[in-house]
């Protein structure tokens, strides 16, 4: 029903945006299957109306649509929390697609690799395996407050890197040396 070019354009959009949207959804919903469904449903809807859609700013439309579905998912599946909006707002921030956030995300990725143990494992258990802070403490045989201290330590490391740094400062990290 669509021309080869239209199919190509869609294919391009899909491959370009899929991963970003999937991880965004995964981070909010915490469910791989649900995230797959959410992202596919959004793209399927776009595909239905592909002939009429404006191509410009498709990325932001997709993001907004995925976000809405994630919030619906949270409402129907999890104890609704009046604080979830603050969490989502911060996740949004991690997915803003401009060069400043991009550079920051890169730096954070690099820093995460440098985190010492057991801080790294603690963060992983808390925020990827989604164990309760208390359960992580039990598992590792450490005190509840120690879990907290490790997360604070990680936060401090990340923040020291950025505290007071304007986008310009971060950009100078990328300043080319003269040949």
């Amino acid at each position: 029903m669509y021309s080869a070019k239209q199919r190509d354009d869609f294919r391009h959009l899909f491959t370009k945006e899929y991963k970003h949207l999937y991880y965004y959804s995964l981070q909010i919903t915490r469910q791989p299957e649900a995230s797959k469904d959410i992202v596919s449903e959004v793209f399927a809807r776009v595909w239905e109306h592909w002939a009429d859609w404006q191509q410009e700013n498709m990325s932001s439309l997709l993001m907004v649509a995925v976000r809405r579905k994630c919030i619906d998912f949270l409402r129907s599946n999890v104890v609704a929390s009046k604080y979830a909006k603050y969490y989502i707002r911060s996740v949004d921030e991690a997915y803003v697609q401009d060069s400043v956030h991009y550079n920051q995300q890169l730096q954070i990725e690099a820093m995460m690799k440098l985190l010492p143990e057991p801080t790294r494992t603690i963060l992983y258990k808390c925020y990827v395996e989604h164990l309760k802070y208390d359960d992580v403490a039990k598992q590792l045989g450490i005190h509840h407050d120690t879990v907290k201290r490790h997360i604070m330590k990680a936060l401090k490391m990340l923040r020291d890197k950025y505290a007071g740094k304007s986008p310009d400062d971060i950009a100078t990290d990328f300043e080319p040396e003269t040949y």
Partner: protein, 326 residues
């Protein structure tokens, strides 16, 4: 009463979608108003994102795509796919730089976003992939910078480049895409091409596919080139066109140094730029030696120099700041 710390609040909110969390009024007010609290939460979310991406697999993208567009024969557009594979591997080649930059800020709501200009720069040993709002993909080579608007308005899509970049321009015949450098201006409707315009060097445009128009900024003359051709302009503003192997011209975007019968000076200039070392020729006649050379850009400078030496044509040594050729 215990002091409320920004970290405590951030940690609570991180769990708010799975655990029952209660925050005091004061804590909520800090979430709303206190920058440090907001920053803590953002950093934890960003850390969570990077851990998720590092450990959780992404679903089969092509499989998911096929489900939507009901495509049985993915091979029908093999050429297109080859290209995509090429670009994707280039992105992987850029090490951790998988996350994409889009040319707009989706989060900012009113007005300011479209006109805002972003500047992205790379240093030695870095390449970066940038995806613009119109779907155009740019791979920036080392020691380069590019300025682009967050969203394109008006007739022309204009970006400013210093250094080298590979462009895969999303087709739009009503909105020409223009790459400006100090020396040349390249105008296209949708295509793949490499622009090289480092300060103080010969400038060039190599076309992989499609059609481009190159304008010499000193003479004002406009020239069209076809795929497989490279437009070159020397420092004096004199231009010519030669046939090139575009695989060679764009090899850098695939994460490799690849030179086919190329002058040693050109090769060493690229290596020096990448590894951020000065290049010193003990004997200037060595500059004109021609070499075939290929190496991974992610290899260390020692490994690359060892490879060069193994060719047996030149002797290359390293000291702290220099690469010396004798």
């Amino acid at each position: 009463m215990k002091d409320i710390t920004s970290e405590d609040i951030a940690m609570k909110v991180m769990k708010s979608t799975t655990e029952k969390v209660e925050l005091s009024e004061e804590e909520v007010s800090m979430l709303e108003n206190d920058e440090e609290t907001q920053k803590s939460l953002q950093l934890l979310a960003a850390a969570q994102r990077s851990m998720l991406e590092a450990t959780m697999p992404v679903p089969d993208v092509n499989g998911e795509l096929a489900k939507i567009i009901n495509e049985e024969d993915e091979n029908e557009t093999s050429e297109h796919h080859n290209f995509k594979g090429y670009i994707i591997s280039a992105v992987v080649g850029a090490a951790a730089m998988i996350a994409l930059v889009l040319g707009y800020n989706y989060f900012s709501s009113i007005g300011e976003s479209a006109d805002k200009i972003s500047k992205v720069e790379t240093g030695s040993g870095e390449t970066m992939t940038i995806n613009l709002a119109d779907g155009t993909e740019i791979i920036l080579n080392d020691n380069s910078s590019i300025e682009y608007p967050h969203g394109f308005t008006g007739t022309d899509r204009i970006v400013k480049l210093s250094g080298e970049a590979l462009f895969k321009v999303s087709k739009n015949k009503h909105h020409p895409f223009i790459v400006e450098t100090d020396q040349i201006r390249t105008r296209v409707l949708g295509t793949v091409f490499d622009v090289k315009a480092y300060p103080g060097m010969e400038a060039s445009v190599a076309l992989v596919e499609g059609k481009v128009e190159v304008k010499n900024m000193s003479s004002g003359k406009v020239t069209n080139i076809i795929p497989g051709q490279q437009y070159r302009m020397n420092m004096a503003g004199k231009a010519d066109i030669k046939k090139v192997n575009t695989d060679e011209t764009t090899a850098w975007s695939d994460g490799v140094f690849y030179y086919d019968n190329k002058r040693l000076e050109d090769i060493m200039y690229a290596l020096g730029r990448w590894y951020n070392r000065k290049v010193v020729f003990k004997d200037s006649t060595l500059k004109d030696i021609r070499l075939n050379f290929a190496a991974e850009r992610k290899g260390s400078i020692q490994e690359t120099v060892e490879l060069l030496n193994s060719l047996g044509k030149v002797k290359v040594t390293l000291d702290n700041e220099k690469i010396v050729i004798e």
